[in-house]
């Protein structure tokens, strides 16, 4: 009898839950491949995790869908001199637990985010200190002139000092050590507050009643349920059956099928990540040509030959099914420093390639191993497989080595001393500024400086190195842009890397439940911009 009672109670509960979902409430259900890594805003730097943090936590400035900045917790700011900034903070803001937001929270968040274990410390790398000027005013001093300070601030998450200290959660804990309280609980000033998080199952947020900008919010969602669904087919099925309202990424082969469904629309747009190939330009002898004493990639003619041998349009048409934008530049449109007129890809011309190869002294080509990930970018292995015969056409004997991302990045990265001759990589500049790409991909800097961390072919040009240092400290916008332009021009003339394309974002959206959703180019769902019917 007791069991039956339990059953009835449970059935009644289920009925109530079902009713609530179909009633006036506007529940937004969405899914992507994996769960967030944790709620600690300062621990992980990973796409889906950052998005969720952005729904829950406030920043000084917020990045809008068109990549422009708008005030969030800071209402206005001005530069006192090259290295000092004043920020006026918004008054009357409260955290989800009711604590008031003050300058102390900003100072505390700065200290917390810049500790060594924080993966988000990159956003504040140029900041020397943040000090309290008044109850609602702070001063930021930078280590040198920093033209892109503001661009980095959307990655500076503000936590509540009192809440963190009460729970002894100052330290960012990763992997080893005790459980991190901040990773399991959240208390921000953002428009949504955490209601429930069951690892790998669902994460539920609801609107925060006392959000300062409640009146300006576009969204009308009353509850948002985030579910990780790792399997592509299941994710597509869940969307088709109407159990979820939005999901991403849509597998390229399913785009057409989903578009045929009258209640589903696939929203596509370019992503900010640029996929490119790199070549070993530092070893005196190519890894695949032991004993020869030669490294063909050191010859710019060989690099040019490669550039003209790869048919980007064919890759776009066949491998990417149209869902990519071939590119001639290492940064995508929308990134600060993008040069529209330089974005034309190298022309596809295998005859020219053969001529260049012959001129360089390799009429019969040479052997090379092509390192490629197979689970990182959209159709990464298929792209590499398509490139192999294109290069074989000009005589190069390519051996494809496609493997899982953790092994691939180890091999081409510094961990194994850039153990590669020819590789694929993709990069989104975290600051949305060209400097980030110059710093990580296109220059080397001094040994041990951490610069050139993913310049796996170790391309280096003296003038570009100089330009990088200048761009880092030039505050005048036009002057800075001219320097960026010069750096990219040299890199392009020398064929430092081979840019391939920006892959397209593809979201599956149910048009019968969703009125409007704005897609940001970072492939994430900012709940501020979701409107339900």
């Amino acid at each position: 009898m007791r069991l039956r009672k339990g059953l009835f109670a449970a059935a009644a509960l289920a009925a109530v839950v079902g009713f609530a979902a179909t009633g006036e409430a506007k529940t937004f259900r969405y899914a992507t491949t994996g769960d967030i890594l944790g709620l600690d805003p300062h621990a992980n730097n990973e796409g889906p995790t950052n998005t969720m943090k952005g729904n829950i936590y406030g920043r000084l400035v917020h990045r809008q869908p068109d990549l422009s900045l708008e005030p969030d917790l800071a209402t206005e700011w001005n530069r006192l001199d090259d290295t000092t900034w004043r920020f006026k903070l918004r008054e009357g803001v409260t955290f989800h637990n009711g604590n008031p937001f003050t300058a102390d929270d900003v100072v505390y968040s700065f200290k917390r985010q810049t500790q060594e274990a924080s993966e988000m410390s990159f956003a504040l790398a140029s900041v020397e200190d943040i000090t309290k000027v008044g109850e609602h005013e702070v001063e930021i001093t930078t280590k040198g002139p920093d033209p892109i300070l503001l661009l980095n601030l959307p990655n500076f998450y503000i936590v509540d000092q009192e809440f963190m200290e009460e729970n002894n959660a100052f330290e960012v804990v990763r992997g080893a050590g005790k459980t991190n309280f901040a990773n399991l609980n959240a208390n921000g000033t953002g428009p949504f507050r955490l209601q429930e998080w069951v690892q790998d199952n669902r994460l539920v947020v609801v609107p925060f009643e006392d959000y300062w900008g409640k009146d300006q919010l576009m969204t009308n969602v009353t509850e948002a349920v985030f579910t990780p669904i790792p399997n592509d087919a299941t994710r597509v099925a869940a969307l088709l059956s109407g159990e979820i309202d939005l999901m991403y990424p849509v597998p390229l082969q399913d785009v057409q099928r989903l578009d045929q469904d009258p209640n589903v629309e696939v929203v596509q747009g370019p992503e900010l990540r640029t996929i490119f190939l790199g070549m070993d330009q530092w070893r005196d002898e190519l890894l695949d040509m032991p004993g020869s004493g030669k490294n063909p990639f050191k010859d710019v003619r060989v690099r040019k030959a490669f550039a003209h041998a790869i048919d980007l349009k064919a890759i776009q048409r066949v491998v990417m099914r149209g869902a990519s934008t071939p590119t001639g530049l290492m940064i995508a449109p929308g990134i600060n420093g993008f040069q529209e007129d330089m974005n034309t890809p190298y022309a596809y011309d295998p005859e020219l390639s053969k001529k260049l190869m012959a001129e360089a002294g390799y009429p019969d080509g040479f052997p090379v191993t092509f390192d490629c990930p197979n689970d990182r970018y959209v159709n990464d292995e298929a792209i590499c497989t398509a490139i192999v015969p294109m290069l074989e056409r000009i005589g190069v004997d390519v051996t494809l080595n496609a493997q899982t991302k953790s092994l691939h990045f180890n091999k081409i990265g510094r961990a194994e001393g850039n153990n590669t001759s020819f590789y694929m990589l993709g990069w989104t500049p975290g600051s949305y500024d060209a400097l980030n790409v110059l710093q990580n991909i296109i220059t080397l800097g001094e040994e041990g400086s951490g610069q050139g961390a993913w310049n796996s072919g170790r391309y280096s040009n003296e003038r570009v190195e100089e330009l990088h240092d200048l761009i880092a400290v030039t505050v005048d916008e036009d002057e800075r842009n001219a320097l960026i332009r010069e750096a990219f021009q040299i890199h392009k003339d020398e064929v430092g890397h081979l840019p391939l394309h920006q892959q397209a974002l593809a979201w599956g959206v149910r048009t019968d439940t969703i009125e409007e959703v704005i897609q940001r180019p970072f492939n994430d769902v900012d709940l501020r911009y979701v409107v339900m019917k």
Binding site: A117, F122, P230, R235, S241, N410
Partner: protein
């Protein structure tokens, strides 16, 4: 009997140790967790510091001994991926997997055995042929294809069942069960059946073959000659004697149900241990991987122990031997 169980428990520890050693030796080939934990923009120093903190710079035997030492104290470490204690992650995912495996094993038995008996007794009936043909499909289609087909039919076309996840869960304190609500069952039924299908057809074919075999034995003929009723012969004598191999196979299969649940859980986004393990592999989450493998080793040994004990219950000859009454 008691000595037998103790001996088996010692074997379990040995098996777990061996599994642990082998898995630790293999972890090197899954890649470097630091790459996944730190973003691409982390500096070389940050990477090195994290490696040191995680103890990844130690040699493999030292890492293994540290793991065993901590495990003996009940500490299995923190997941690299989500920063939660491994025992907590396993405690939240174990009920989901156990319920899934339990329900599908029951399905396999309750549907498979009667179907096997029927096809064994009525070899030429039309229904038997249908069963056999369908079972061929069950045995030859891979699990994930069946899962996706079921999702397509019952979830998308008919819209009867939810396509993913586990909801309608009731918290009983230490155990979160989905078996008490309709919603819970609606989420469970498709993954459970998908997982059960292979075992179901296997059991059906096994029971059928055994039944055919037993029908030809002398004691069944004598039983018939004595004029016993068919019902008593078929179920009282024949079926009982077919069960020893069924139990063996079922024992082995429960183990593989646990293993196959990795695929089923991924297809249905079922928040169980298999999915936890798969994600751990992708992330090179060593604490989760090692704990999962050791736990699985323990389960396998325990299942086999249970199977051995069940033999005693089913086969009187074994009981006689241990009592010392066997005379050859």
């Amino acid at each position: 009997m008691f000595a037998f169980i103790v001996q088996r428990l010692f074997q379990a520890i040995l098996v777990m140790l061996v599994v642990g050693i082998i898995s630790f030796a293999l972890f090197r080939f899954t890649g470097d967790p630091v790459n996944n934990m730190l973003g691409p923009e982390a500096t070389i120093e940050q990477r090195e510091a994290l490696r040191e903190r995680l103890g990844l710079n130690d040699s493999v035997p030292v890492q293994f001994i540290n793991f065993i030492g901590n495990a003996a104290k009940g500490e299995f470490g923190l997941s690299y991926r989500v920063g939660k204690p491994v025992e907590e992650l396993i405690a939240t995912t174990l009920p989901a997997t156990i319920e899934l495996v339990f329900v599908s094993a029951l399905m396999a038995l309750l549907i498979g055995v009667p179907m096997g008996v029927y096809t064994g007794l009525k070899r030429h009936a039309a229904l038997s042929r249908v069963f056999l043909t369908v079972s061929l499909i069950g045995i030859s289609l891979p699990t994930f294809v069946i899962g996706i087909l079921m999702i397509l039919i019952f979830g998308v076309w008919l819209g009867w069942l939810p396509t993913f996840g586990r909801q309608g869960v009731v918290d009983l304190g230490v155990w979160q069960t989905g078996l008490l609500t309709l919603q819970g069952w609606s989420h469970l039924i498709m993954p459970a059946f998908t997982l059960a299908l292979f075992q179901l057809t296997l059991i059906m074919r096994l029971v059928r073959a055994e039944m055919l075999e037993v029908q030809r034995t002398d004691y069944i003929k004598f039983a018939k000659a004595r004029g016993l009723r068919n019902r008593a012969i078929n179920y009282g004598h024949a079926l009982k004697n077919t069960l020893v191999p069924v139990i063996t196979i079922m024992g082995l299969q429960v183990g593989s149900l646990l293993a196959f649940s990795i695929i089923t859980e991924t297809v249905f986004a079922w928040p169980g241990m298999g999915r936890l393990f798969l994600q751990a592999i992708q992330f090179v989450d060593i604490p989760v991987m090692s704990s999962y493998l050791m736990l699985m080793a323990f389960f396998f040994v325990m299942i086999n122990l249970t199977v051995d004990l069940l033999y005693y219950a089913v086969d009187p000859r074994l009981r006689a031997e241990t009592l010392g009454g066997a005379a050859h």
